[in-house]
């Protein structure tokens, strides 16, 4: 604690304990607690209390108040807890019985204020913070505090209830781990007193007939097994296992929905997952007895678990795939398709029932599809899924949703009727479809898959959100299609599909709904990014009307669409004029026209999005080396940054800095300068010649003016980025080991413009003083001098400090609290 703070603290404490003061602002109190938490953490001694007796006095004062305000009382409870987290401080406070008076029977919990949830919450949090040593544990157990916590488990305030639950978990762990004399064993287990009470409470609650008690204990066990992986947890489990197993069989107890989560947490714990015992039998039984909706999350969790036994894994997969299998069977002819699963596995009746009901069908399918997507997108540990059948099932769902499939069975018709136009299922299915494109084994179905996708892309009934998903899935599968096209027939087939896609895309680009135009353009950009090296793709694209329609959309009234059109045009340029074998196109497609058009958008578009898109496309072009030889690129960059320099949108200006960064990198690369400043090969040889050459290029491109100006930009991100770039440049021009101040005279004459620049920068007032008459930002020598003289590192540190670093200091916080008190005092004076 700084000296200033320790001076302010007594006054603050006195003010807070003063009942005449208006209730202090809760955020201030929270910040104060945060500060104490830090102090208590970094100073593990009793000195904190000894040096600041005002803290204990404050607690005493609050306890003495006949009617403290709930917020102050709650604050006091939490503060005491934080302070008492350390045993010696606990003892110090207990010298005056402060903790017993706060947390014991005769404290707030017996007063009228206990009705206030904030007081109960303060009590629970206070106890929780304190609960790091045995004395605290004993204090609670001996003063009957445990019963209070048990009752708070069912508190009407969910925050209090959940905190009480977590507190019990931590007390149990603390008790067992600090007080247990010998390792727990099933036969003879001598739990310490506190643990004994909690365990008995858990067992009693589980056996009670009250659903809420059962639920609380299950929650407690779930968090316990989730956070503690010690062997004794198994002993505890064996005591309750039978009871919990019975919940699976008894439908009268509504606890099933919590069991999945409990078992999942246990499965992740090495205590249980490595055990040979009955745990996995119980999991298997849960998969069998829980409803598909309840079992789904358990199944997906198990499948992600590396250590899950094979038979349980198969069962989990069955649970997960059953709805998909049911759809497949219901929609196809009996002999036409075997389904996803062996008929012997599982009982499909429940799933069939859920799928044929309007209220449950969509939610079951959406849950299943979300789980499948989760499994498919998991890269670390791939779950073996029957991909071809899954794809078939997905296609069936999508066709049922748009009414294009006439199912063979009565069940199929019922499901079809429920699913017609169900957007939720459509989007989820398309998500899975997209995720499935990376998997092998689906290739035989690819042609019919595109029939389904094209139907979605083409249908006027497809909602804009579903359309977007359909686009995403299509682009992924088009990439897959290109990978597969080896034979002539396959290539023709792919060509036909591409042709159809572009035909639909043309229509969608003209849609009156801007979301549709926007996602169409994103789709196009996506396709170009992935497929621009494929000759067939380029041919199909360029022979369609898509490029022209895209160009039209540069003038779209909707700014998002213009932005997407800019990005699409930018990427289109990679195949039209940046490609080496660029095809000859009509006049309107020439490079100059497009660049001019984009530059016009950059300088005149009233909205930020299109301008941001232009600058990032320019950066993309530059980084891919499409802007021509260095000389041309320099001119190009110069033109662009002169435009963005004055842009009102900070992201556009930031884009400008990124462009500069890329340009510098490229220049150094092309001139053979080591860009990395730490590279020992640096300097002497290349330094002087290429260094001055690149500096000349940068000056001519007018980079420095923008960079220095950005240092004082009102948006700090820009300042940081500009400083970073300048630092890099400085390191390049003054490689490590070349003392910067050796090149030039150390003391710059006061009248020198760079000295002025340095001064102004230090004051942070460059932005107001622009344009700067004296500084010639295009003069290489001045700039070299500037890079050498200005302490960019210090500037960088300054910029990295958060803007509220002054306001955030504890001192300022204490002053704030006193200031509010001060105003009260003034007002008081006014009254007399």
């Amino acid at each position: 604690m700084t000296r200033e703070c320790s001076v302010l603290l007594p006054r603050v404490c006195a003010a807070l304990a003063d009942p005449r003061q208006p209730g202090s602002d809760d955020t201030c109190l929270e910040k104060l607690l945060d500060w104490f938490r830090l102090l208590a953490k970094f100073d593990p001694s009793v000195e904190l209390l000894q040096n600041n007796p005002c803290l204990a006095e404050f607690i005493t004062a609050v306890l003495a108040l006949p009617e403290p305000s709930p917020s102050i009382l709650s604050f006091t409870l939490r503060l005491a807890g934080i302070l008492a987290a350390l045993e010696n401080r606990f003892q110090h406070l207990q010298q005056e019985q402060l903790l017993v008076r706060l947390f014991g029977r005769d404290g707030p919990l017996n007063s009228m204020l206990w009705k206030d949830a904030s007081v109960r919450s303060g009590w629970v949090h206070g106890v929780h913070s304190m609960m790091h040593h045995q004395p605290a544990l004993h204090l609670l157990c001996h003063t009957g505090g445990l019963d209070v916590i048990f009752s708070l488990q069912g508190d009407p305030s969910l925050f209090v209830a959940s905190a009480a639950n977590q507190l019990l978990v931590d007390m149990l762990i603390l008790s067992v781990e600090t007080e247990m004399t010998k390792p727990a064993s099933t036969k003879d287990c001598d739990w310490p007193a506190c643990a004994q009470m909690i365990i008995k409470h858990i067992e009693d609650s589980l056996q009670s007939s009250s659903a809420s008690h059962i639920e609380q204990s299950l929650k407690l066990l779930t968090s316990l097994f989730g956070s503690c992986r010690a062997p004794w947890t198994e002993v505890l489990w064996l005591g309750v296992a039978k009871q919990i197993e019975s919940f699976l069989m008894e439908e009268t107890v509504q606890a099933q929905h919590m069991l999945a989560n409990l078992l999942l947490k246990m499965a992740w714990s090495p205590v249980f997952c490595d055990s040979e015992g009955s745990f996995w039998t119980l999991v298997a039984s849960a998969l069998e007895h829980l409803t598909p909706v309840q079992a789904g999350p358990l199944a997906v969790g198990l499948l992600k678990l590396y250590k899950c036994p094979q038979d349980v894994r198969i069962q989990a997969l069955t649970v997960l795939l059953q709805p998909m299998d049911c759809i497949l069977r219901a929609a196809s002819q009996p002999l036409e398709y075997a389904g996803l699963l062996d008929e012997s596995v599982g009982d499909p009746i429940t799933v069939e029932g859920l799928l044929s009901s309007k209220s449950s069908c969509a939610s079951l399918l959406c849950q299943t599809l979300a789980h499948l997507e989760e499994l498919l997108s998991q890269s670390r540990f791939q779950v073996d899924l029957p991909c071809a059948s899954l794809l078939h099932s997905l296609m069936t769902i999508l066709q049922l949703c748009n009414g294009l499939l006439s199912p063979a069975s009565a069940l199929g018709s019922t499901i079809g009727r429920v699913l017609i136009n169900c957007f939720r299922v459509q989007s989820s299915a398309l998500d899975v479809l997209a995720a499935l494109s990376d998997r092998k084994g689906c290739d035989t179905l690819i042609e019919s898959l595109f029939d389904v996708l094209l139907a979605y892309l083409d249908s006027p009934n497809t909602s804009p959100t579903v359309l977007k998903k359909a686009f995403q899935a299509t682009s992924k599968w088009l990439v897959r299609l290109q990978e597969l096209s080896c034979s002539n027939t396959q290539r023709q087939q792919a060509e036909k599909i591409l042709e159809d896609v572009f035909l639909v895309l043309q229509k969608r680009l003209c849609s009156p709904c801007w979301e549709v135009r926007d996602s169409s353009l994103e789709f196009l950009t996506d396709l170009i990014k992935c497929l621009r090296d494929q000759e067939e793709f380029r041919q199909s694209l360029l022979s369609s009307e898509v490029p022209r329609l895209t160009e039209n959309l540069l003038e779209d009234p909707e700014s998002y669409v213009r932005a997407s059109a800019v990005t699409a045009m930018g990427h289109l340029a990679f195949i039209t004029y940046f490609a080496p074998e660029s095809p000859v196109l009509g006049n309107q497609y020439n490079k100059e026209n497009t660049v001019a058009k984009l530059q016009e958008i950059l300088s005149t578009d009233p909205e930020g999005f299109p301008r941001r898109a232009v600058i990032s496309i320019f950066t993309e072009w530059l980084s891919q080396g499409c802007t021509g030889p260095l000389e041309d690129t320099g001119q190009f960059v110069s033109r662009v940054i002169q435009t963005v320099e004055h842009d009102l949108d900070w992201e556009v200006r930031l884009g400008g800095l990124e462009l500069i960064q890329d340009f510098c990198h490229q220049t150094f690369c092309q001139l053979g300068l080591p860009e990395c400043p730490d590279d020992p090969v640096s300097s002497a040889v290349t330094g002087s010649i290429h260094g001055s050459e690149s500096l000349r290029i940068f000056c001519r491109a007018k980079l420095f003016r923008f960079l220095f100006r950005s240092l004082c930009d009102c948006d700090k991100t820009l300042g940081q980025r500009a400083c970073h770039i300048l630092l890099n440049l400085s390191n390049n021009f003054y490689p490590l080991g070349t003392p910067k101040d050796l090149d030039k005279t150390v003391d710059l004459p006061a009248g020198c413009s760079i000295a002025w620049l340095e001064r102004t920068l230090r004051q942070g007032s460059l932005a107001q003083n622009f344009p700067t008459d004296g500084v010639d930002f295009e003069d290489p020598e001045s700039m070299m001098l500037a890079l050498g003289t200005i302490d960019l590192l210090q500037l960088y540190d300054e910029l990295n400090k958060s803007s509220d670093h002054v306001e955030k200091s504890p001192q300022s916080l204490l002053q704030d609290i006193l200031a509010t008190v001060g105003t009260m005092e003034e007002n008081e004076a006014d009254c007399y």
């Binding site: 079809g416 006027p460 009156p512």
Partner: protein, 658 residues
């Protein structure tokens, strides 16, 4: 009550309802799909059409080659197009008392009914319905009369000959009933029989029935009808929409508590969502124009065109189509555009408020002012001077058999740059295009039908809960081309009763009550007697007077005065004779007490037996039996009148008289 179904077309209904003692025709739609069997009527001599080869039978006979022409494998009748009228044989249409029109599309057969059947009744319709209906009829007559045909084919209609023809001519139904278009004088005569009504206006029909039009939300002035007596209510729902387009929203609340709800005029394209179709329309239009092509939109001069123009108004600038001219060509184009702006009270709330701004309710006014939309009565005259391409043309008729559209099909059909976009759902676009094949121009089918779909119907029925639903048979099964779509049919309990053309349906409710009024003087004389708490009874003797289906109880005539003078007594057959009435009894006989009373009066050997309906009291000595049931008591004794009277009096002691 009966319903006579005269039309087989679910969206162009014509039903006759016999309700109480009135005969009410509900709509008279004209099925124009018959015109698809005819060759188009070109406004300008078309070398292509005139060179079509005559149709030759398989055996080489050529007797039909003047009447029938062949084009790309289809056979068409080369004659003035004819329409399929509603059934006229099912009942004598001269007995129809009133005709209720629900919207302007459903009145196109009106002249055939009012001018050819001896109809003498009244037609009820709202003002916009009549005005826009008149425009549609005028356009129809004009389009057909403009292109006089020298010949009229009739040989092919001969049953023997028709059998030899290829489909679809072979299968055309009731060809003998097909009629040429009516004339303008007939239209005027028919329309003069219309009486204008406003929404929620109650119209009394002969005292027996009240009919009320309600807003149906489908088109300007479109209505559903409530037909009710005091105790029965029939709702006629025809062509309704729940979408927010230009008309006033649909009034659903007034349809509640119906005994029968007749449901017709649902969407013809249940799988197409109108919003999606409008977007499709705009996309295809923009795509064609940007590629330098022309767009042809075959349409009616009123209805969806207003909404399309409104969408385009918002869309054209954003799509960069501001310089593309939009042409609306119809003999009634001007009136249609102007009428729509003056029917403020019939418009949706949004548009109504614009009237007070003051601003025209529809933005097409602005399109016209800025010269983006131009309208012409026909392709002749000014239009040919102003015509610039690429452009968008809205013109009729959607069947592509007559009207200015025929000219544009001939003009633009050869280029694949052009597109024809079908927005009206009444005709199959493939059939409409058949006589223009082979066709290079692109065809896009975006039927925009804002009428109720099956999901909306299901919600509507849940909301208004009619006891019975009656609908065309097409709505009780999935569409024939999509038999698996069981969601595309009416699903209600009890199942809907269905009807088809030329069928008579007994409506499923019974007449149970009639309302009768009592004149005050008579009411004064009533002495109610409370027989149960809250229920009082009184006897009344009166004369029932029935006139114009209104029933009134009047005072009975005073007993005839003794004849004064010596005039011969006239036979007073007009005054019914009043006999004094026996009192009525009520109450029940408690058997135990009755037995005690009998014993008090000296009957000693009383025995009681229980029966299914009551009790039998046996007086063995007197050989007498008293049968007491809930609603009757019989004393059966052997010719002992004094005993019977005695017993009767004992029974009467337990009952109330009034």
């Amino acid at each position: 009550s009966f319903q006579y179904c005269l039309s087989g077309h679910p969206t162009l209904p014509c039903n006759v309802l016999k309700f109480k003692s009135t005969t009410i025709m509900l709509d008279c739609g004209l099925d124009m799909t018959s015109t698809l069997n005819f060759l188009p009527l070109p406004l300008v001599q078309s070398p292509r059409l005139s060179k079509l080869p005559g149709w030759v039978l398989k055996d080489g006979s050529t007797f039909l080659d003047k009447e029938l022409k062949e084009c790309s494998g289809h056979v068409f009748v080369d004659s003035v197009p004819e329409f399929c009228l509603p059934e006229t044989e099912l009942l004598d249409l001269s007995t129809v008392d009133v005709i209720l029109i629900s919207n302007y599309h459903c009145m196109m057969a009106l002249p055939y009914i009012t001018e050819y059947t001896g109809f003498t009744g009244t037609v009820y319709a709202t003002e916009p319905t009549v005005q826009i209906g008149r425009l549609l009829m005028e356009e129809l007559v004009n389009s057909i009369e403009r292109v006089p045909k020298a010949q009229s084919a009739s040989m092919w209609k001969n049953k023997e000959v028709q059998r030899l023809l290829p489909a679809p001519l072979k299968d055309a139904v009731e060809v003998s009933m097909w009629r040429k278009c009516y004339t303008m004088p007939e239209v005027n005569a028919a329309l003069s029989k219309i009486q204008l009504v406003g929404y929620s206006q109650k119209i009394e029909l002969f005292g027996a029935v009240q009919v009320t039009p309600l807003s149906s939300g489908y088109a300007l002035g479109s209505s559903n009808w409530i037909i009710q007596s005091h105790y029965e209510k029939v709702s006629y729902v025809s062509g309704s929409s729940l979408l927010t387009t230009h008309p006033q929203p649909m009034d659903q609340a007034s349809l509640k508590n119906s005994d029968v709800l007749i449901l017709t005029g649902l969407t013809q394209i249940p799988t197409a969502n109108p919003d999606g179709m409008v977007a499709e329309f705009c996309s295809n239009l923009a795509m064609t124009v940007r590629n330098g092509g022309n767009v042809l939109v075959p349409c009616y001069p009123s209805g969806v065109i207003y909404d399309l123009l409104e969408c385009l108004y918002q869309y054209i600038d954003s799509a960069g189509l501001s310089n593309v001219p939009f042409y609306f060509i119809s003999p009634v184009a001007n009136s249609s555009l102007e009428f729509s702006q003056i029917f403020a009270e019939w418009l949706c709330h949004n548009k109504q408020t614009k009237v007070y701004l003051p601003e025209p309710p529809f933005p097409h006014a602005e399109l016209i002012q800025t010269n983006k939309l131009k309208h012409y009565p026909s392709i002749h005259g000014d239009f040919s001077n102003d015509f610039k391409q690429p452009c968008v043309v809205f013109t009729g008729h959607p069947s592509l058999r007559f009207g200015d559209v025929v000219h544009f099909m001939e003009l633009w059909g050869k280029s694949s740059l052009n597109t024809v976009i079908f927005t009206e759902p009444d005709f199959s676009y493939l059939d409409a295009l058949a006589p223009y094949q082979p066709l290079a121009m692109k065809c896009v089918y975006c039927p925009i039908d804002t009428r109720l779909n099956f999901i909306q119907v299901s919600k509507l029925l849940k909301e208004v809960q009619p006891l019975h639903v009656v609908c065309p048979e097409q709505y009780t099964q999935p569409p024939p081309t999509q038999s698996h779509r069981t969601d595309l049919m009416i699903d209600c309990q009890p199942p809907a009763m269905s009807y088809r053309r030329a069928e008579v349906l007994t409506l499923p409710y019974k007449r149970r009550y009639e309302k009768i009024e009592i004149v005050p003087e008579l009411a004064d004389l009533l002495v109610p007697l409370e027989i149960k708490p809250g229920i009082s009874l009184a006897t009344v003797s009166a004369v029932l007077h029935t006139k114009d289906n209104k029933h009134v109880l009047q005072l009975p005539p005073k007993p005839p005065q003794p004849p004064t003078g010596k005039k011969r007594k006239r036979v007073s057959d007009d005054v019914p004779e009043c006999k004094p009435l026996k009192p009525l009894l009520s109450g029940s006989i408690p058997v135990d007490q009755f037995v005690q009373t009998l014993e008090k009066h000296g009957f000693s050997d009383v025995k009681v037996e229980d029966t299914a309906k009551g009790h039998i009291v046996l007086l063995q000595e007197a050989e007498t039996l008293i049968q007491i049931e809930e609603d009757s008591t019989h004393i059966i004794c052997d010719n002992d009148e004094p005993l019977r009277v005695k017993l009767r009096d004992l029974v009467l002691k337990f009952l109330q008289k009034f």
